[in-house]
């Protein structure tokens, strides 16, 4: 479904992604862990098409679509969803109006505003947000936790093929984590969907059963494995893990000068 091959990018003159390879099939839940600055968030931004990042090499396909050839909104319409760590508030624009406009843009048929609103209300309940968030100005005066929950509800409403969730669990309390895990299970139950979760290895991952775990360092996925890799990383930490990898000669781990 999502196929990333040898993806390189720069931010200004600085190389960030240095050859990312990743394949996500329908039904798979991938977790990417890594130290701050290892390139996890950049990967999401590059997949969306943030103009601040320049792709210098590599290919990305989502289904039949050559993702890198598309504008950001076309990538979203093709089924790619990125959650924002700090989504912006937009004056006077409600969540339902923004998301309905997006759903309508992705659909060739008319999307009923009334029905969409009702569904969004249900998704908000799933992530433990009040239904008033349907009509409230999007992200205005909302806490970090509320914003991230609304991002997940947005994902449920837009039904993407591939959701890339960037630290959606930070700043969310334990009840919220349970709700988010429910939301992610509900999303995957929709069928034909894939999930990439970027996290610092926090509590959300305890409630999910990732099919794949990747360690990111210096712009590459340097180690991949099943859920047990998560436990090893948790015990050893990234720095030790990176050292161990280098000693074993795995990956081409580079350190910034």
């Amino acid at each position: 479904m999502l196929q990333i091959e040898d993806l390189h990018s720069r931010l200004g003159e600085t190389p960030i992604l240095r050859g990312v390879n990743l394949r996500v099939l329908a039904g798979e839940v991938h977790v990417i862990v890594g130290a701050n600055g290892s390139g996890k968030s950049t990967l999401g931004r590059v997949l969306l098409g943030d103009e601040q990042h320049t792709v210098t090499q590599g290919t990305v396909t989502l289904g039949d679509a050559d993702l890198l050839a598309l504008e950001p909104h076309e990538r979203a319409q093709a089924g790619f969803f990125l959650s924002f760590q700090s989504p912006p508030a937009i004056d006077g624009v409600s969540a339902v109006d923004l998301l309905h406009a997006g759903a309508q843009a992705a659909s060739e048929e008319r999307v009923s505003h009334f029905r969409f609103k009702k569904q969004l209300g249900a998704h908000l309940r799933t992530v433990h947000l009040g239904e008033e968030f349907v009509n409230r100005e999007i992200h205005k005066g909302a806490s970090g936790g509320e914003r991230r929950k609304l991002e997940l509800a947005s994902m449920l409403a837009l039904e993407p093929k591939l959701a890339f969730l960037d630290e959606v669990d930070s700043g969310v309390d334990i009840d919220g984590i349970h709700a988010m895990a429910d939301a992610l299970r509900q999303y995957m139950a929709g069928g034909g969907r894939g999930l990439v979760i970027v996290s610092h290895g926090e509590r959300l991952l305890d409630h999910l059963a990732p099919t794949h775990v990747h360690v990111m360092a210096d712009g590459q996925l340097v180690e991949s494995g099943d859920a047990t890799l998560l436990q090893r990383v948790k015990q050893e930490g990234f720095a030790q893990r990176k050292g161990a990898l280098e000693r074993r000669g795995i990956g081409t781990v580079r350190t910034e000068a």
Partner: protein
Amino acid sequence: MTDALVDFTQITRRDLDTPDASAYADEFAKGIDEALVRKISADKGEPDWVLAVRLKALAQFHTLEMPSWGPDLSGLDFGQIRYFATATNTPNAKTWADVDPTIKKTFERLQIPQAERALLAGVGAQYESETVYHSLKAEWEEQGVIFLDFDEAVRTHPELVKKHFTRVVPINDHKFAALHYAVFSGGTFLYVPSGVRVTQPLQAYFRMNAINQGQFEHTLIVVEEGAQAHYIEGCSAPKYGSASLHAGCVEVQVGAGASCRYSSVENWSADTFNLNTKRSVVQARGRMEWIGGNLGSGTTMLYPCSVLVGAEARADHLGVAFANAGQNQDTGAKVILQGERTRATVVSKSLSKGGGVSTYRGLIDVGARATDAVVNVECDALMLDGESVSDTIPYIRCGNDTASITHEASAGKISEETLLYCASRGLDPEVAKGVIVNGFLDEVVKTLPLEYASELNRLIELEMEGSIG
């Protein structure tokens, strides 16, 4: 047929910009002099006191200086404007069937008869210098409400008009007020007696048609003690590429405990100098609301004013201005607080695009007697591209230490992060800008009746077309 339903969103730029034939205009000379002023007065069969006002105003017009501040008015040649023209021999019809068919068609295109049937208490329709249609539903007439073409009101209610005319805006207020009083023609007289609450809006629509036309309608609204009215004004003119002038004047008197809401959507063509004067005097516990959308026009200077003379009088000014390429929207609000515990709110939202210039110019004047007055001003400007300009020029005079005045201003562009966020939900940049602009204006637009809110949204949409450079 669905023509009983009003839907302003069907109106296209072509409906607004396309002129009717205007051979009639050739019979009327351009330029202004005493002979013209006397002719206008004689045509209307006015009493001498009105002619005296006109002649005094003409003298003031010649004496008063052009404004030394604000937008450039050098493109306005007073000698090239046609100050008075009539397009029909049957003015002031009481039914649409009696209106000249061409003119009727124009107003139908602008959805006015449809709106009248659907939601209005009464309608006035002015074409060039004359009112072509005026009506008031019987239930309001029976309660003593007077809603007439201004010229007719001078004839039929001379004492009432004389008592209130020129009391709110003096004839020497400024050069364009003087010009207005010299050549005014048409407009509205609305009188709501004590205690009568007119719950449906009343509307007047002003249409200029011929090239180089001037329109100078006078609107006089008197809302007596405890009464209520909502007046809606709409305006448009076709596009010629040669200057036309609108210098209307609105005088509103709000009695004790009365309330008046004045909503207007001014949508003149880009050729128009819109130099308009609107002012209200509000007695104790009275409330005045000005809700304005300024689109179109080449140059606008418009600063609705509320003078709060009575204790606990209140004014709310909500304004939207959109300056597109080649346009200069110089708009704002003036509030003069004189009574104790008077309150005022000003919310101004301006948009500029394609190099347009949008300026908020405001005056808050708290008098010595205005103990515990409260004023909140909020000005937000959104520039839709790098070449557009937005300015905020607030003046605050405070003559009483107990007053509380806040002024908040913001100016900015739509951030790249916001556009990217919208894109991540599937919105292309053009759709996203539309959604963001609607949201930016929402606070003001939602105060309009639904049909007019839709109209304003539609007009904004027309201005937004091709906003991706």
